[in-house]
């Protein structure tokens, strides 16, 4: 690689070193502090504490739920977008991006209004006679997952659109002409070829969902504790900076592990698709 290309990357590298690597190193150093000395006791405390592990597990699971929901809702949307005529695309794109253009706080309070005991969903269900007592939607994991999926759908849809529009439409026709039905074509051709988009979109939504502090806290209410809030409480309410730092590092490691599993899955299924 010519030297000038590396030099062009230098400002970014400097930025990363200063504002990412250095704070990370400091964070790690803080997490080792125990009284006067340095040790791994905070890590041990986290890893042998069922409560902490529960919070971590619930957070990772929440990410998986949101990602699955985004994929389920986002794939048809991306598919429709790619096949819609030119004049319709800007309209659809605006609809896709709209969640990103609203403030988190406004959006989250809107969800509280929608999901609350007297909210739109409950009053609709009550007046239609589907239920006699209001359902508990707010302050549930399901409620948090839906609210997060709403804002993170663009993160799934945009990579999917890129992946789907790279697929030659003649492939569909070729599959049909060979006698395959629409479903076989979808499973054997469209889905495997859109895997890069699914993996990219999955990573983005997953990372965004597990770190979404505001939505998690407001829609989840006090009852549901997820990692970002846990870290926040340890750091600010309890002033236990070393333990907060240790949780952060563990969280980071767990996320990296999930991400690499995801990547490996993507690679594996891609090679399997043509095995």
């Amino acid at each position: 690689m010519p030297a000038y290309e590396l030099r062009l990357a230098a400002p970014l590298a400097g930025f990363f070193a200063l504002f990412f690597l250095a704070p990370l190193a400091i964070l790690f150093y803080v997490s080792l502090q125990n009284g006067a000395g340095l040790d791994l006791s905070h890590y041990a405390r986290f890893l042998f504490d069922p409560f902490s592990l529960g919070v971590l597990g619930r957070t990772l699971l929440l990410g998986a739920e949101v990602t699955a929901l985004c994929l389920l809702l986002g794939f048809p949307l991306a598919w429709v977008y790619v096949r819609s005529p030119g004049w319709l695309r800007p309209v659809l794109m605006l609809a896709v991006l709209l969640p990103l253009l609203t403030s988190v706080v406004v959006r989250t309070f809107a969800w509280i209004v929608i999901l609350g005991r007297q909210g739109i969903v409950n009053s609709a269900l009550l007046s239609l006679g589907f239920t006699d007592t209001p359902l508990r939607l707010l302050y549930t994991e399901g409620g948090v997952a839906v609210a997060l999926a709403q804002v993170q759908i663009p993160l799934m849809v945009l990579p999917l659109i890129t992946a789907l529009s790279r697929i030659d439409t003649n492939l569909d026709d070729a599959s049909l002409a060979l006698g395959a039905g629409a479903w076989r074509g979808f499973w054997r051709i469209t889905l495997p070829l859109s895997l890069p988009g699914i993996v990219a979109g999955g990573l983005l939504t997953y990372a965004a969902a597990i770190t979404a502090f505001i939505t998690q806290s407001l829609v989840g209410g006090g009852q549901m504790l997820f990692m970002p809030m846990y870290i926040y409480q340890q750091a600010t309410a309890l002033q236990n900076w070393p333990f907060a730092a240790a949780i952060s590092i563990v969280f980071l490691a767990a996320v990296l592990a999930v991400v690499s599993v995801f990547n490996a899955l993507g690679r594996l299924s891609r090679t399997h698709a043509d095995a």
Binding site: D173, A174, S175, L176, L178, G179, R184, A273, D274
Partner: protein, 371 residues
Amino acid sequence: MPDDTPTDRAAPSASLTIERVAHRYGGSVALEQISVDVAGGELLSLLGPSGCGKTTLLRIIGGFIRQSAGRILVGGQPVDHLPANKRTVGIVFQNYALFPHMTVARNIAYGLEARRTPHAQITARVAEMLAMVRLEHLRDRLPRELSGGQQQRVALARALAVRPSILLLDEPFAALDKNLRLDMQIEVKRIQRLSGTTTILVTHDQEEALSLSDRIAVLNQGRLEQLATPTEIYDRPASLFVNRFVGTANMLPGVLVSADAGGSVVALDDGTRIAARAPTEKLIPGDPVAVCIRPEHLRMVPSGEGIRGTVEMGLPLGATIVHEIRTLSGHAIKIAEPRQTGMEPRLAGSAIALLPTQPGAVGVFRPAAPS
């Protein structure tokens, strides 16, 4: 099951009937009332310039678009109600459309799997197809690891593996470079003969259509201009469009003097009278006409008779020698003659006179509408 095909084993070499098929995209007419009968095992070309409706007709036959009017019959049975995956029509796309994530063998097996063919039969048929297109050694390659010609052979093998009753080829050679194109044309013709599959070849390349087809349907702006054998199309084009689109033609304006079933006489604008074929269109004496003579159907004659002009340029092209002539009335015409050893082009500016070699070589047509 959705993937089952009722006519799984439709016999190859079914006939194809295109019956008064018309198609409109919104308000614009893409095809008007095309009728073509293709015999079982025949290779028919749809020839025409870009935008004349070839792909549209091909996609109608394949079941990818529904025609606005008319019927398609395969082996005498109407297939218009069948979706693309229930018609036993194989198609090779211009860009081949191989499944990029599947190996050569998996690509070829795809249609057989969709038909729930037993595994052992699939393996045998894939091997048979690989042998037919001579790609046994590449069965485990991905499409991107193949050359253009190899990809095309895979596409052909994939389409033929399911024994389609009709094979459709959409500009199959357009993406290949010239040397490879000739090889692949021979190869496709060989495979088509071998499989005996009724084949529709779409092309805008007249040489390709002439060399490969049993018959050619020439399309122009959605209309069928002529349906005939390659020699008939070349020797007796039915319209000015066909004469100019297939091969080269010199075109001179004139007036029809007389015409009957045996032949006609036209007067060119310089006064020369020429005997010609009988017009194929409805023309009466006195009508303005376009006179078409191919360069190889002209000969030089002693001056005093024939179309007079001067040599503008002479090009010795190896086996032939071509002269570009400017007639006295200002038209540019080409004449091509076999070149004898040592023959040099005539000097620019020399005066010469030309006549058609025979009346049968001169076409008389309604002039093109001024555009």
